[in-house]
């Protein structure tokens, strides 16, 4: 049985907010995203730190990529709302302190969050969205100078895209 994504996102929410209802409302998404942006960046940087064999999140503009990709009309509107809502939940759990924590504290906060179904789904989504940026065509702006591909020794095929799909 395939998981009922929408139901899961709604019931799983500890905030009692409904991703779906939220997505249906016309919200100022840019504003909402701005409020969680630093938390999302901090999570990405924790998952993809400096000194790893793959490039660091900090060096790859992965938050900008994430914003651009989730705001395009082709992106699932439930997941778009979930991205923000999951970050808000993390902020709430950690009483707004997540971004100022040190590495050990962040690790604990994220592993604790991962213990909940909701948190583990959200973290998994963060991982996917970050890797999508890092390992997609450099045209999307987050695989800078192909350094994501170089690290993996794997390169996209030819022809490369001339435009971002968001622009076509």
């Amino acid at each position: 049985m395939r998981i009922k994504r929408r139901k899961f996102l709604i019931l799983g929410s500890l905030l009692g907010l409904s991703s779906y209802v939220k997505a249906e409302r016309t919200t100022d998404f840019e504003k909402e995203f701005k409020a969680v942006k630093s938390t999302i960046t901090a999570v990405q940087e924790h998952m993809f730190p400096k000194g790893s064999k793959i490039p660091s999140a900090r060096s790859m503009h992965v938050t900008t990529f994430l914003y651009e990709t989730i705001t395009h009309k082709s992106f699932d509107r439930d997941i778009k709302a979930f991205v923000v809502e999951g970050a808000e939940e993390l902020m709430r759990r950690e009483k707004g302190k997540f971004t100022s924590m040190n590495r050990i504290e962040k690790e604990k906060a994220l592993r604790d969050y991962e213990m909940t179904n909701y948190g583990s789904t959200w973290l998994s989504r963060m991982m996917t969205l970050t890797m999508e940026g890092m390992f997609s065509d450099p045209i999307y702006g987050a695989n800078i100078k192909e350094s994501g591909w170089k690290a993996l020794g794997a390169y996209g095929g030819f022809p490369r895209p001339k435009t971002k799909y968001m622009e076509s």
């Binding site: 049985m1 395939r2 998981i3 009922k4 994504r5 929408r6 139901k7 924790h46 998952m47 993809f48 730190p49 000194g51 790893s52 064999k53 793959i54 990709t69 395009h72 009309k73 082709s74 992106f75 699932d76 509107r77 690790e107 592993r111 991962e114 583990s120 973290l123 998994s124 991982m127 996917t128 890797m131 999508e132 390992f135 997609s136 065509d137 999307y140 591909w149 690290a151 993996l152 020794g153 794997a154 390169y155 996209g156 095929g157 030819f158 022809p159 490369r160 895209p161 001339k162 799909y165």
Partner: protein, 557 residues
């Protein structure tokens, strides 16, 4: 008024359009998707494999899928599950994106019931035509679509009217040396997979340049035998084809009981509706959508759906699948070939095993088996990097993630097998109209109940065990296989069975509606059983056969 109106521009629609346009008839192809030109196709993993760029948004158009949960049928819209049953909705349909591993059915696939008798819980019937009747069209499709390969005689390889393929096989990765050796030492015969990919240039089409991203991607050289490249382009060149893109067909209208008079279409950009008239209508929207379209065309003359006096419309939907498995070839333990050779990108593994197509064994018994394809794991970068990043149920991140992903991507390559065995038609696999859900054009969506028959899983497991042995013999590590009755959504057939008896079938042997004389269904809907190979060579061949019959009719008008 057009001579012929075709709904859907994919493999089947393209074959019909090609034949009729070449013969000088005026044809309209109505395609709900847009035209993506050869030059526009890129290897953009994000766009083609991770976003709905060549398929509709599931919030606009979707299916509901019924599965049994705790003894009850539960229906889930695909916008909730993310399990899309769209396969490529652009000019050329899903044939743009196929991997192109093509096989002919075996002559006994046309008479499964006579050969194996009844199977409890399965609605198996013989076909009203034989392999011999379809063979000339397999040969025609081979030539026109451009199928490369190498014929070797084998007990379960059907006979051909031409001695061999005109195009030699595409270039192969050295890993085939390992596969061949492993097979031979286990007494298994590896055969070369016929592929709808040109190994040599053909007028108007360049040969394959081994781009490494073939399946799930459009081809920018013209080598892949998509309907767009191989059939619609030459059809357009005749001047007889009107290709109407962004034209979604809502339903077909019949003014009288036995004739379709026009198609009601909506322009997907402007939202404007119009009627398109023709003398003959050919539905080629891919099996599950063709049945839905005919069900949605119910009217006072045809209250249960167009051409559904038998009550069989939408029933006996089938899929082509059976399971798959994988093993890892590691740098440190690789023998016979060099690691660099294994890691060479782009080249194909053209290897098929047909040894278990029919099983007649003193211990295992006598039953219909299946075929096997070997291939590398899809070379998409994001999906390869993203998978298997859990340890003890926890997501791996940080430096450990870097170590893990880089090692996996640079020190091993994964080899897969895919099994294709008959999906036995049964009462719990069918398309109907969802009573509540509608698409953005206001039409009921297709509701798919997709239960497989237990025999399919048994056969899949039987073959998977044998394939695991081949991978083991090759020196692969961490071998596993997965066999389930979950349907592969890109290989679908049935729903409008053909047959001689109008009481038990929707179409006659020419895939013409028993009830409505100017209505044909040209895609895989006609197949009462699916054989143990992927469908597309049969789809192309049968559509050419149907087109020949339509030509005969047009000549008489």
């Amino acid at each position: 008024m057009y001579d012929v109106v075709i709904i859907g521009s994919g493999a089947s629609g393209g074959a019909v359009a090609y034949t009729l346009c070449k013969a000088g008839y005026k044809v309209a192809v109505l395609e709900k998707g847009r035209l993506v030109k050869k030059e526009e196709f890129s290897k953009d993993e994000l766009a083609y494999c991770r976003r709905d760029l060549v398929t509709p948004s599931l919030f606009d158009e979707y299916h509901t899928i019924e599965e049994k949960v705790d003894g009850k049928w539960v229906s889930t819209p695909t916008y909730e599950s993310g399990w899309s049953f769209w396969n490529g909705n652009i000019v050329g349909g899903s044939s743009n994106l196929m991997s192109g591993m093509l096989h002919r059915l075996h002559p006994d696939d046309f008479r499964l019931k006579s050969k194996y008798g009844e199977i409890k819980g399965a609605n198996v019937v013989d076909w009203p035509i034989s392999y011999e009747e379809l063979e000339p069209y397999y040969a025609l499709a081979e030539e026109l679509v451009g199928i490369s390969g190498h014929y070797e005689s084998h007990a379960y390889e059907p006979k051909r009217s031409t001695p061999n393929f005109t195009q030699p096989p595409t270039k192969e990765n050295r890993v085939v040396k390992l596969i061949d050796k492993a097979c031979h030492s286990l007494g298994v015969t590896p055969l070369v997979t016929p592929r709808a990919v040109l190994s040599q240039t053909k007028p108007g089409r360049d040969a394959c340049y081994y781009s490494n991203f073939c399946g799930s991607y459009g081809c920018s050289s013209g080598a892949k035998g998509s309907s767009r490249e191989a059939l619609l382009k030459p059809a357009l060149a005749t001047g007889n084809l009107t290709l109407l893109t962004n034209t979604h067909v809502k339903y077909l209208h019949t003014k009288s009981k036995d004739e379709v008079s026009y198609a009601v279409v909506v322009d997907t950009i402007t939202g404007k509706e119009k009627q398109i008239e023709g003398k003959i209508f050919v539905v080629a929207a891919q099996a599950h959508e063709s049945a839905r379209l005919l069900l949605n065309s119910a009217n006072k003359h045809h209250p249960e759906g167009l051409g559904n006096s038998s009550g069989e419309l939408g029933k006996n939907l089938i899929f082509s699948g059976g399971g798959s498995g994988q093993g890892e070839l590691h740098k440190e333990s690789l023998k016979e070939i060099k690691f660099d050779e294994l890691m060479t990108t782009g080249l194909f593994i053209n290897r098929t095993v047909l040894d278990w197509y029919f099983i007649d064994h003193w211990w295992d018994g006598k039953f219909k088996g299946g075929s096997v394809e070997f291939m590398f794991e899809h070379q998409n970068i994001i999906s390869r990097a993203r998978k298997n990043n859990y340890e003890n149920g926890k997501l791996v991140w940080g430096e450990a993630l870097g170590e893990r992903v880089v090692k996996r991507m640079t020190e091993q390559k994964n080899i897969r097998f895919e099994i294709f065995n008959d999906w036995l038609p049964n009462d719990n696999c069918f398309v109907s109209l969802d009573p509540t859900h509608k698409d953005k054009y206001g039409m009921p969506v297709g509701k798919l109940r997709v239960e497989g028959h237990p025999q399919d899983v048994k056969v899949g497991k039987y073959i998977a065990k044998k394939c695991e042995k081949i991978l083991e013999e090759m020196g692969a590590k961490n071998i596993y296989s997965g066999v389930s009755s979950s349907p592969p959504q890109n290989l679908v057939a049935g729903g409008c069975r053909f047959g001689d008896d109008p009481k038990t079938s929707v179409l006659n042997k020419y895939c013409q509606s028993h009830d409505v004389k100017n209505l044909f269904v040209a895609d895989a809907s006609f197949m009462p059983t699916g054989g143990s190979v992927a469908y597309t060579w049969t789809i192309y061949a049968n559509a050419f056969r149907v087109a020949d019959h339509i030509l005969e009719r047009l000549k008489q008008v």
